[in-house]
Symmetry: C2
Subunit: 129 residues, 2 copies
């Protein structure tokens, strides 16, 4: 699937961070989520969805916006920034998709150290809900 | 300058991680380095060079290799992996250059958390030398 289309759909979700059905439709059954914190992937559509929804809830209302994007044939890197509890969070969403245009890998990296600490705490709170 | 050229030159340096004169020639006078740990940039060619050399020393002999790259007009993202003290370090080099093909911003993000901790320690040791 043309890369533009996948990333356009991702932006539709990311712009509002609130229509989670849009997100579900974007994920492949074998999707996995790779977090900034843990090396092992979270495997499967359900877990990937859960982590991305938790992240969306953490960033909602915190001036989440994209700064740059680099688009390849079956993958893209989107650089973002947000301000969470007064700390600037700068990161990348690294999105990989299959030939049917469904996201099969979603990896996140974040800087600086202070931002990772805050996200660890807030993600844990979201995931325990 | 065509992006291929800048990234080719970067790879020439990164392949060996040992010819530091190649690196110096690649940097703009107003270059800055943005670390995975601290938000504030390290400003100037000299400091950027110092940080990149420290990183090269940390990764040397630790199976540093690139996994993926996304190339834009004046910037690129290179995903890398290495194994440092038994811990897998997965990261991105986010490289931006000016119209003369000199790198003016070099940003690094790293995952997982364990990897950031190890790099913080080893980078500090290198920078204090």
């Amino acid at each position: 699937m043309p890369s533009k289309k996948v990333i356009e759909k991702w932006h539709e979700f990311a712009n509002g961070l609130n229509d989670e059905s849009k997100l579900l439709d974007l994920l492949a059954d074998d999707a996995c989520f790779l977090s900034p914190v843990v090396y092992s992937p979270q495997i499967g559509k359900e877990l990937t969805y859960k982590y991305l929804c938790a992240a969306a809830n953490v960033f909602k209302g915190n001036n989440f916006h994209y700064l740059n994007e680099w688009i390849g044939e079956n993958s893209a890197v989107l650089e973002f920034e947000a301000t969470v509890e007064g700390v600037t969070v700068n990161g990348v969403d690294m999105i990989f998709w299959n030939e049917t245009g469904k996201i099969n890998q979603f990896k996140v990296m974040v800087r600086p150290f202070k931002a990772i600490n805050i996200l660890m705490k807030l993600m844990a709170e979201q995931l325990m809900k």
